[in-house]
């Protein structure tokens, strides 16, 4: 596609439910990043993929968070047993390679009630 596509754009879920957030990067981009941004705050690194591999998972806040990437393309971020503190915008970005511009999606706004 022309840009990084994320879905859903908005999600309201009940505490304790599982959610899946999807990211479709720009075609041909091998690097894919997930960040979390709480209201009015900076970007918190969660995980990045180089192809299908995730060399660095250190940013995942807890074992309730997991992510995968298949076929070197689409990535899914899964949050199990959601908590209210998980409410945030989850941003996905991709780039052709390190050092090149990373392009962001518009984010998935998650609200846990």
């Amino acid at each position: 596609g022309a840009g990084v596509s994320q879905s859903p754009s908005n999600k309201v879920t009940e505490k304790g439910k599982d959610v899946e957030l999807r990211c479709d990067p720009i075609s041909g981009h091998t690097a894919l990043y997930w960040y979390r941004q709480s209201l009015g705050q900076g970007l918190e690194f969660l995980i990045y993929f180089q192809g299908n591999s995730a060399p660095d998972k250190s940013g995942l806040p807890s074992d309730r968070f997991s992510a995968e990437r298949t076929g070197g393309s689409v990535s899914t971020l899964t949050i199990q047993r959601t908590q209210q503190e998980d409410s945030a915008v989850y941003l996905c970005a991709s780039s052709t390679t390190v050092g090149n511009t990373i392009y962001f999606g518009e984010g998935s706004w998650l609200t846990v009630v």
């Binding site: 990043y33 960040y35 705050q41 900076g42 970007l43 690194f45 990045y48 180089q50 060399p55 660095d56 940013g59 915008v89 941003l91 970005a93 390190v98 050092g99 511009t101 990373i102 392009y103 962001f104 518009e106 984010g107």
Partner: protein, 113 residues
């Protein structure tokens, strides 16, 4: 570990004036990349300017320029002839090889008419 610090949470500038946003970073590497990203209220992150650390020349994009001081590990953004559309959150970011991109906490820029 690499860190990026933006010491100004908020700044204001009069329309048509010049403003400088500060960014410092910590790294032991010599070959890396630095970026400034803009996040307007629409939430979409947009690249403003990119600097390669091995290049001594400061990057410039129209009204936006940087002052890159490698020895001091400083990377400030200067916006000339500020316009109302420049109002946004600005993030400084660092990227090194196959590693996560690290963002500062951001500076919120207000443009006063």
């Amino acid at each position: 570990a690499q860190t990026v610090t933006q010491s100004q949470p908020e700044m204001s500038v009069q329309e048509a004036e010049t403003v400088t946003l500060s960014c410092t970073y910590d790294t032991s590497e010599s070959d890396y990349y630095l970026f400034w990203y803009k996040q307007p209220p629409s939430r979409q992150m947009i690249l403003v300017i990119r600097q390669e650390a091995y290049k001594q020349q400061n990057a410039t994009e129209n009204r936006f320029s940087v002052n890159f001081q490698k020895a001091a590990k400083s990377f400030s953004l200067k916006i000339s002839d500020s316009q109302l559309g420049d109002a946004a959150m600005y993030f400084c970011a660092y990227d090194y090889r196959d590693d996560k991109i690290i963002f500062g906490k951001g500076t919120r820029l207000h443009i006063l008419p």
